[in-house]
Symmetry: C2
Amino acid sequence: MSYSPLLVRLIDALCCMPGVGRKSAQRIAFHLLERDREGARVLGDALGQAAQGIGHCKRCRMFTEAEFCSFCAADGRDRALLCVVESPADVMAVEDATGYRGLYFVLMGHLSPLDGIGPDELGADQLEALLNENETKELIIATNPTVEGDATAHYLAGLAARHGVQASRIAHGVPLGGELEYVDGGTLSHAFFGRRVVD
Amino acid sequence: MSYSPLLVRLIDALCCMPGVGRKSAQRIAFHLLERDREGARVLGDALGQAAQGIGHCKRCRMFTEAEFCSFCAADGRDRALLCVVESPADVMAVEDATGYRGLYFVLMGHLSPLDGIGPDELGADQLEALLNENETKELIIATNPTVEGDATAHYLAGLAARHGVQASRIAHGVPLGGELEYVDGGTLSHAFFGRRVVD
């Protein structure tokens, strides 16, 4: 004996989401069926349309259903600056926090040879094509401060050098509001040796 | 600047799931778009069909797209026994663990006057109609061992008494495999005063 076929199918399908196991899938299914059918219907539509319609920006690889994303299509952004990030969420983080108004390039991942992710999978061709347009003056590398992110940054710096574009990397160090006592050793060491003259 | 309209819509819609905030919704959306479009499509269909098709069993209120759920429709189940539970997940828990082969009644909640949930919302009418059919000999009350579950159990016991049906409640006590030292006081006290003669 088990749930009805449609319910079994719904619970199975919900398990495709990251971090959702069978118990969570059940809980979500019951919640939607019992308390929010309209939400379930809207979500179902949104998923179908997104899976169908959303592709990548031809220029920067950002998710978009248009040919170019809203950043690349916008007038008045500084086309001399190109910020390379790992994921679309990083674009939003940089955009919201920094006041940066240049363009972006989204790798959709980081170099990870063991997983078969090399430069081709990260859109290196597209990035080179962009650099060949000679608009870019500075490549701002904002990959994550992880081993893979560092390797990716190293690769990107080499790419920029080959195209005669200046590369920079966002600063790593002690985060604001933290206490030195509780900052991990690697970060503290990095911050210490990366100290800057106070002027 | 923000994500493309379809992506914004998808992230908003994902937030309707319990336990999913904006960050999780983003993560889920990116995962599905980047790695599992087929899963997204299947989930979208499943949600739409479930929201459209799944209703409640006319007899026991279990979720089903048919008129009667597979339990009520099955031949060979013991119609003299009726086990009352709070949720569809509880039906599966009892079914899988106990070898019980009677029928079920799913309250879809528990008495909670502050939330406006009284006997009517829990399908008391349907339960009374079932008891009036005179098939039921024992009403097994398997509501959760919580304050609301206890109140609901008390109400159900009264209902059974009015219909001349014997009511029983699943035993509460120390769970198997636990150590007394770590069992909470309430449970231990309950187990102690509910001790049974060893024969």
